[in-house]
């Protein structure tokens, strides 16, 4: 029995890919550049969006009719949590700023006390 095959399926596949790529890439690129392609893609997208919008509306109506929250309502709850987080962050920033100001004020006060003390010490002598 021979130990080799008359063809290698993987190499055949690779060659097929390379030849397809070489022969078709140019054609495909030319097609992709055409204004009619952009127009067609825009039209397809519009049809898809129209269908999606209809589906969104129907889903929302159905969910409301069975007393279930819609995606927007769930997202609104998440937004409330995010708002609380933002407020906490603002408080944290404010507190940090206050502490920094306080540190500066204490440092100035510290220097003034030192100055007073040295003045007193000078007077006592």
């Amino acid at each position: 029995m021979t130990n080799t095959l008359p063809f290698d399926p993987f190499n055949m596949w690779k060659t097929f890919y390379e030849q397809t790529d070489a022969n078709w890439t140019g054609v495909i690129q030319e097609m992709l550049k055409k204004e009619s392609f952009s127009e067609g893609m825009g039209e397809t997208l519009n049809h898809y969006l129209q269908a999606q919008k209809l589906m969104n509306e129907k889903t929302e109506t159905f969910l409301k009719s069975v007393n279930l929250p819609t995606r927007s309502e769930v997202a609104d709850v998440a937004s409330l949590v995010i708002n609380v987080e933002s407020k906490l962050e603002a408080l944290e920033d404010g507190l940090e700023e206050e502490i920094n100001q306080l540190k500066i004020a204490i440092s100035i006060l510290d220097k003034k006390i030192d100055k007073l003390l040295s003045t007193f010490e000078g007077t006592e002598k």
Partner: protein, 362 residues
Amino acid sequence: MVYSITNQLDSLLDTLPDDIKVNYRRYKRVMDVITKEADPLVGQTPKEVIWTKNIAKLYRYQPQSKKTNRVPILMIYALINKPYILDLTPGNSLIEYLTNLGHDVYLLDWGTPGYEDRHLKFDHYILDYIPKAVKKVLKTSEASEISLLGYCMGGTMTTIFAALHPQLPIRNIVLLTTPIDFSDAGLYTKWLDERYYNVDKLVDTLGLIPAEMIDFGNKLLNPIGSYYGPYVSLVDRVDNEKFVTNWKLMQKWLADGIPFTGEAYRQWIGELYQQNKLINDDLYIRGQRVELRKITANLLNIAGKKDVIVNPKQAEPLNAKVSSEHKAFHIVDTGHVSVVTGSKAINDIHPMIEKWLTQNSN
């Protein structure tokens, strides 16, 4: 049962010609890679979260390692795809490379937005998130200046941020494949023509733009190469373990997209791709005009010669607009992703960025 059949098949193989054995083993290995093997680990450089806001996180990398460069680096990534491309795997990571050489590296990870985040605009990201992140970086590093590194859309956001904050101590800006001039964005300019592409209807209907839609647009630039090319390469080089590991890493990242918040997408497509406002100083962020001449930081602007997503013509015009004294524009022999990952990036681009940052931080 399946196991015993597989074993029987394996023993049957011994009786078959060599070519069949080789091809069967190759086929089996390819199938294992695609269907059985676990996803590779990514983003392994040690890091800690130093700040969060909503879903965004600010990471500091290798906080325990010695920092010899006094100017910290804040990396700002795009709103789409995940930022671990900057820290893909040990030995193939820009972040690891920079931190190992003593740079204090931070990364702003935007996170994965949910439907509740659909109203987030560039205004929020650029005026509410980035300034806070910069403040946190400066405070954590106890530094007086900062370097910003923006990649792709993250570079555009970095540029807008720097133009709107001339008072901040931004010492250096590194931009990788960053679109600034959208007058000729290749096929995107044709596809996103406002006569045909109704961005408002898209955003109003979907709220959040699915990652698959963005990915489809990118793959459509070269459909045969994008959809079949990776599998042909895998079959061809499946015996090379290093290649297989890199292949898995790249496929994981490419399939790991994140949705685009609707309002930011409306600005990205409408005001940039369709109206090209940024390069013409006509872009307003929360009422503030973005004037690129207000950027004075040192600028290193890198574009990829083979980049089909952001061609070099989109990146280059920035250098003529900014007021920076030290500015450089380099076109490197890479594509959009290989500018940060892969052998060319490891051997040439990472060292180039590191050297430039070091030279401009002392």
